[in-house]
Amino acid sequence: MRVRNFAAALLVALVLISCGGAKQADVIKVGWFGALTGDQAVWGNNEYNTVKMLFEEINAAGGVKVGDKTYTLEAVGYDNKGDAQEAVNVVRRLTSQDKVVAILGPNASGNAIPIAPILEGAKVPDIATVATNPKVTVLDGKVKPYNFRVCFIDPYQGAVAAGFAYDVLKARKAAILYDVSDDYSQGLRQFFVENFKKYGGEIVADESFKSGDVDFRPQLSKIKAQNPDIIFMPYFFKEVALSANQARELGMTQVLMGGDGWPSDQLISMGAAAVEGSYFVNHLDYDDPDVADYKARYFKKYGIQTELNGYLVHDAVLMLVDALKRAGEPTGEAIAKALETTNIKGITGTIKISAQTHNPEGKDAAIIKIVGGKYVFQQKYAAK
């Protein structure tokens, strides 16, 4: 099934459905979980709000037609505080108590991995949002039947960052600073190193810190002595801002580069001049018209800006609705099967799920540059 511009298609479809049978009362329950409290609460709330908003819009337009019946969607969301143990609890609750047919989220790989056996037992598919560790969907060469994701994976992101740094920025000597106690950071670091070396570049410094650290000058001073062309910083915006400031304080002028942990208003306000001219790999181009439409709807409803996670969960909802329509019946098994042949256009790009990996294949990454305190889209970049 080919859907061209999803926003338009969805609208047409929904209008048609709503004209068809307006007084159906059948409900499909869809689970969501993520961190609503704790230090990742910003992202969790953003995702959950987006899911609720989209479901409202879909229901207002008449619901989703599965097989011969039309259903409305209901979101059942739980907070797992970003904790792996809680993730298992919550998924058990969603599958056995709430009887959801599919689950959206979580954003952290460490929370998405341990839920796999429970999903398999309950036969309920999950679409992870920003869980980029390859092991979320594939383990020991075998694809997990009920785990899917909407984002690209660490090896891809690492390859894009390395490729862009080498090809476009013409960097030959790269230094890395990463968070050794963070899974996401370790993953990106590993694949950046592998790819950058493959291109022929040299890693002149490979330094780390630990979550909670605030002073990076010892590592940065060491990096400075190696005089790299760029510094790759695969971690989240708080530490990015701190380390960027400290690097500039030490008189370092190198171009900084990062991944999808960067985008945030706080990076600009706190990093200010220090992050000016830096590049990062992102899932989407903020100026894309489709993106802008969702952004505006979200802002209108909640009065705050959406974060990166919102875009991805938006596309996860699209994936799910598309799969529901093709599934023929609203059961986890049927939905999982339909998800394997997903091929839609979302706001973060074309999502074509591979049945072998359950990852969206060939999703272009967007390279963003910080110019004048704004995120400026540079180009789409696909790793070779």
Partner: protein
Amino acid sequence: MAQFLQQMVNGLSIGSVYALMAVGYSLVYSVMNFSNFAHGGVIMFGAYFGFFGITLLKLPFPAAFVLAFVGTAILAVLIERIAYKPLRERKAPFLYFIISAMGASIFLENIIIATIGPTFRTYPDVFGRSSIALGPVAVGRLDLIMFAVSAVCLTGLVLFVEKTRMGRAIQASAYNMKAAALMGVNTDRVVMIVFAIGGMLAGIAGVFFGMKYTVYPQIGNITTKSFVAAVFGGLGSLPGAVLGSILLGIIETLVAGYLSSQFRDLIAFVILIGVLVFRPTGIMGKTTEDKA
């Protein structure tokens, strides 16, 4: 060589942050003889007081600074009155104090998360972020100011303890609380003053920490480093706390700079254990035998 000098400057700067945090903790330890783990929470409140003083109340920096350390002094005394005083009066074992302190620190951290939220905040730029270049070595402007303020605070504290009546009462209580009480020292007041001073130091540490880095509810976690530093220097000794902090800062920096940044904290921990095994009283600590 340039790198080595820079690393020493980095180490001194990190160490002086630890020192500012460790001194208040060590002072309280010297009198109360227990680790006040709520100290980190008070530091965190100091950072928030200063931050909201500047942003919300639109105070000039010096006023916000005073607000912060007066606020934390009051907070520290309040914690003492609520969480420790009843235990003191009951002569409860040391374990109860530590647990009560843990409760206080959990409360402080989470009340901020529940009311203000978990996100971090950035101090407005007060002193400028630029650094001064001394040849190849960059010295942060804020570091210099912080160094000066720490020196003034610590000198003031030493003078207070050595030269004033209250200070001597504190010394006497630190030596032996019961004997001091018998000799007519109002130990309850001494404890209050000690917590107030500890709280002030925490407030000062908090504001500088916030300015240098950022403000967030888990600042207390970083202060565990300063506890380690205090043990390193000799628990209960003020010069020991300062020396231990500076040494820990330099050791961490040199480990990260020349050995392995991956294992920085691990190596720091191994050094701590080593010190404990071979010199249980720390660098400056004095051996004491419990009075039977």
